[in-house]
């Protein structure tokens, strides 16, 4: 609380709480529009196309047009669907995706809810998505939806294990689950970020391979958590129509859509916090004022959102057995080895 600029500005009254809630919500909505535009543009540029060019200057208003289109669409509920669960699923998805923003530290002076178990909280809230997907897939009363939901569950549960190991290693390295504390330990420029072993003596060079592979493990598993290519088998278009959201249309589909993009930012923010210094400037104290910190944080996280989009248009989709192979036989053992190595490093540094 004492490090929150809104608290210092307003004091402990209702405005403080309202604005604290409003900032992440407005951020998510604006970010989602930018990410949709980025997805469209990067997709077409990678394919040597120009992409949307006719809505506004060079097509920058395209995401707004898409959202208007989604709002106007008819809201169809299948006759044999379980209406209560069917209607609830998109809201649970979006709530789960949005809840993670409560603990994301945008700057040293602003974090909506300063939790001392922020890392654990984001990881736990991320699991909400599974419930939303199963609910949507089951309630749709459609074989493709159910198949997609089952694939999603098997995938997300398996990939939570490497993520858990990766976050556990970071917790062992930092000695805390408090995201602000984790970031504060990475101060002093790019060389002190956890991707380079955090600050400590030169012995850390021995541990840099482990931190880098841990970053790769975490980022790869994050892709699986957000159901994006190459891990998009829950919604594999060529196999099961659209997976768990086959039957959804209009605003409810938009909720799934927004939740996916919100999740993309959450996992990118988590990668940024755990490995790339969160809101720390890469130049130490230079350009490290609270406002610049939020700029650094958002641009770092947006870079990883870009990498996710970039990967989407690079890699093909994995097969189901390959997916399980990658999770259980590659990522989990590697994460385990890295966990042991980084625990030693956390002890001796």
């Amino acid at each position: 609380m004492e490090n929150n600029f809104l608290y210092n500005l307003f004091g402990n009254n209702v405005w403080f709480y309202l604005i604290t809630i409003a900032i992440p919500l407005v951020f998510v909505l604006i970010y989602a529009l930018i990410a949709i535009l980025g997805e469209l543009k990067i997709a077409s540029w990678i394919q040597d196309r120009l992409g949307p060019m006719r809505t506004g200057w060079k097509g920058v208003l395209q995401p707004i047009a898409e959202v208007v289109k989604l709002i106007q669409k008819e809201d169809i509920i299948p006759a044999n669907a379980n209406k209560a669960l069917f209607n609830l699923a998109p809201y649970i998805m979006f709530t789960g995706a949005f809840a993670a923003y409560a603990a994301i530290p945008f700057s040293s002076q602003f974090v909506p809810a300063h939790l001392n178990i922020g890392l654990f909280y984001i990881f736990a809230v991320g699991a909400f998505a599974i419930i939303g997907i199963v609910m949507g897939g089951w309630a749709s009363n459609n074989k493709y939806s159910l198949l997609g939901a089952m694939r999603a569950v098997s995938q997300m549960v398996s990939y939570e294990i490497p993520i858990a190991f990766a976050l556990l290693s970071i917790a062992a390295l930092a000695g805390t689950l408090d995201l602000q504390d984790i970031i504060k330990q990475q101060e002093g420029g790019i060389w002190n970020w956890f991707i380079f072993g955090g600050n400590g003596s030169l012995i850390k060079i021995l541990f840099i391979p482990f931190t880098i592979s841990l970053f790769l493990v975490h980022f790869t598993s994050s892709l699986a958590e957000t159901n994006r290519i190459p891990f998009d088998i829950p919604e594999g278009e060529s196999e099961i129509v659209a997976g768990y959201h086959t039957e959804y249309s209009g605003m409810k589909f938009a909720m799934f859509f927004f939740a996916e993009y919100a999740n993309m930012f959450t996992v990118s923010a988590l990668v940024t916090i755990c490995f790339f210094g969160g809101w720390q400037s890469p130049f130490g104290d230079f350009l490290n004022s609270p406002i610049m910190q939020s700029v650094w944080f958002v641009s770092k996280a947006m870079f990883f959102v870009f990498v996710q989009i970039w990967l989407r248009w690079t890699l093909p989709r994995l097969r189901v057995d390959q997916l399980m192979f990658v999770s259980w036989k590659v990522l989990t053992p590697v994460a385990f080895v890295c966990f042991i190595a980084l625990s030693y490093w956390g002890l001796i540094k």
Binding site: R49, L50, W313, T314, L315
Partner: protein, 178 residues
């Protein structure tokens, strides 16, 4: 060892693929901005023998109706009136021959037309031709019916009247002979 080799290969091939897509991300785009910056007809990129909207040169059309008979979808409608010898104002056709028929209606329904180009092949005077024009979509289907006849309805009625008068005159002549 196979296991580690596979991991390394997976990572390196992913990096290689990402490099390729990154090059394309900043590479030259192939999209032509039609119709804002690029137009196939104006730039001359459209092949001259492409089959698009049909044009009928009425100075060459003698109403032989061969195009009508060749059309597989029956999209051509032709009405003709014979040229009466008493008619003074008969221009020659563009191949220099005398006109035998006035074409008072030569209507092509482009909603039906399948652009097979059979009509242009049978035309003895090459009056019916394919053009490169392809931008002629309409909101009303009736507007896709093009009448190529260069005679106004008044002129058509006039030509009909001349032909009927000539017929009656002929009839009377025959009766007188009897």
């Amino acid at each position: 060892m196979e296991y580690f080799k596979n991991i390394i290969e997976g990572l390196s091939t992913t990096a290689k693929g990402m490099k390729i897509t990154l090059n394309h991300l900043f590479g030259k785009k192939v999209t032509n901005q039609y119709p804002d910056e690029y137009h196939p007809i104006l730039s001359g990129d459209i092949p001259p023998n492409s089959r698009n909207r049909i044009f009928v040169d009425m100075s060459g059309c003698d109403g032989c109706e061969q195009c009508n008979k060749a059309c597989p979808v029956n999209c051509i409608e032709i009405e003709t009136v014979k040229v009466a010898p008493t008619d003074e104002n008969v221009p020659l056709m563009n191949d220099g021959k005398k006109r035998k028929f006035w074409v008072i209606k030569h209507e092509i329904d482009f909603a039906k037309c399948c652009f097979c180009s059979l009509c242009t092949e049978v035309c003895p005077t090459n009056a019916i031709q394919m053009t490169v024009e392809f931008e002629y979509s309409e909101y009303d289907r009736e507007k896709l019916k093009y009448n190529f006849s260069d005679l106004t309805p008044e002129q058509a009625a006039e030509k009909k009247r001349i032909w009927e008068e000539y017929q009656e005159a002929k009839k009377r002549e025959q009766e007188v002979k009897k």
